[in-house]
Symmetry: C2
Subunit: 205 residues, 2 copies
Amino acid sequence: MATRTRMSREARQDQLLDLGAELFADRSYEDVHIEELSEVAGVSRGLLYHYFPTKRAFFAAMVRRESGRMAELTTTDPALPVVDQLNQGIEIYLDYCKDHKLGVKAIFHGAASADPEIQDIIEHDLRVHHDRIVVLIEPGGQASELMRIAVRSWLQFMRSACHQWLDAQDTTRDEVRDLCAQTLLGALLALPEGSRPSGLAGLAD
Amino acid sequence: MATRTRMSREARQDQLLDLGAELFADRSYEDVHIEELSEVAGVSRGLLYHYFPTKRAFFAAMVRRESGRMAELTTTDPALPVVDQLNQGIEIYLDYCKDHKLGVKAIFHGAASADPEIQDIIEHDLRVHHDRIVVLIEPGGQASELMRIAVRSWLQFMRSACHQWLDAQDTTRDEVRDLCAQTLLGALLALPEGSRPSGLAGLAD
């Protein structure tokens, strides 16, 4: 760009968040100085601080944006059988992560931050996905503690598998999708009688 | 104790590590000031620094101690079938976590530390368990990338399930053991033909 273009507030924020994702993608949260962003983006520090007064505010906005997009995208078709909805959700999640690799890796790295507010954001994000899955597999709302443990633990499985896949050489999207889906079903169908999700009734042998 | 007893170097270190685990169990790594330990333990700061010059050195020693004990304990009986060895390993892991709840919770919290050296220690620990399982299920050493992704992701599942169980109300040890074991088998047996572990041959339907 020869001249700095005038951008709307939203477009400017979006641009800063995109550039910021690159900074955070391969470095730990604590290593990144938010001031670097003003250089990369070619905006004054004043303008940067105007939009994002602190690194934490910036990172929070980044996580919120990714979570928001993700939550919107992974809304599955309620007309489909539960298993298909789970598969669909996993597939969309993986595709999203591939397409937004830098932002997603940034969040993975941020998850290893000790900052309590960042931890709260990550925790909130985890809870949203947890609650969605629980509502899907146990529509009555009577999820046992064990079932909740299973779902939450599986989300860590999923996150880890996705994170590894983003840097993998020989592994396809469909292989990871099947791995994650089968693992979730395996975990849920192996729950003892009283804890097994009613939304999956008929699937257990 | 009315008087301060003379302890061997090793016994003193062990005592400090035990007391330290209590400090770290419910707080994040960054929140704990290592100097608190000298008060709790009733030793001078000089003596504390003599054994552990920094918080990081202290935490590293704590993780190394727990990992070392765990690695020793979870050595399974090679005469047993692979599935029994996996079950046995999981059972010992869960029992160990219950018996050393504070130390283990401290490590779980530390895992959320951004300190690169602490991350290295946690990563090393994860790798030890990963390699052990891979050798067990794929004795030929030809583990595919996908199988490695499955094992590593499952370790995050296991860690999360154990962490949740330590604070759970209605969930028994055996329920968590079965959940983790079934989930691992489900993940591994669902791998595509070329990636399925040879150590589990005969288990797949």
